[in-house]
């Protein structure tokens, strides 16, 4: 498991990790939880995993490149986690994201929130994910089965149904 970036935020146990390869969300989650030493304190854990689909906008996609802005990406993710931890009572937050070349069924993002109560865990997780989608500097370029390449133009709002 190799990560490009890792930082514990001050005060609360929170981590942002970017992976150039070998991204196993369940393993990262498990290791983080084991290390965090919160046994008995957390009653609610909300986990979101985003995974690459083999179809997008009606076209078959065979690969994708995830570009990011090293430095700003981490800074924005930390800011998002910090905002969430001010809005909700959370014990720990872990955000991990892939960068580089990925294939369908590869995981892209993990957001995990540990809290005493489920309302906080659910709300903080979703807030972080929506904020990541709208403000963390990552960009996706798809390679279609036809070998045509195209940039994904914008993310949709996850709260509204299409």
């Amino acid at each position: 498991m190799k990560w490009l970036f890792f930082r514990q935020l001050q005060g609360v146990e929170m981590a942002v990790k970017l992976y150039a390869q070998g991204f196993e969300p369940l393993q990262i989650f498990h290791e983080h939880q084991q290390q965090a030493g919160m046994a008995g304190q957390f009653g609610a854990t909300s986990i979101f995993i985003g995974t690459m689909r083999d179809m997008n906008a009606g076209d078959e996609v065979k690969a994708m490149t995830l570009e990011h802005y090293p430095g700003m990406t981490e800074k924005q993710l930390e800011k998002i986690i910090s905002e969430a931890s001010q809005k909700w009572q959370v014990l720990d937050v872990l955000v991990a994201h892939r960068v580089g070349e990925i294939l369908p069924n590869d995981p892209i993002v993990l957001v995990a929130v540990w809290a005493s109560h489920r309302g906080d865990a659910y709300d903080a997780n979703r807030y972080i994910m929506e904020a990541l989608k709208s403000s963390a500097p990552f960009w996706k370029k798809e390679r279609l089965v036809s070998d045509q390449e195209r940039w994904v133009e914008k993310n949709t709002d996850g709260y509204n149904k299409l």
């Binding site: 995830l66 990011h68 994910m129 989608k133 500097p137 996706k140 993310n155």
Partner: protein, 79 residues
Amino acid sequence: MLMSIKVRYFASLKEKLGRAEHVMDVTGPVTVAEIWTLANPGTAMPDNIISALNMEYVDSQQSVKEGDEVAFFPPVTGG
């Protein structure tokens, strides 16, 4: 006042402009929007392009100072 400013481009904008980053010497005061114009004469900033200054989102009317890093990129599509 002569300032050295690092300018970066990402994703589709980087491909369109054909460059990822460059350092410019400019005479201030100057805004983020003016940095674009000086760096890309004759090319209007596309409507959807977002500006960042030292890795924070900013309005393009924000002023820059010596040593700043200015970035331009399209809407983000991570997650």
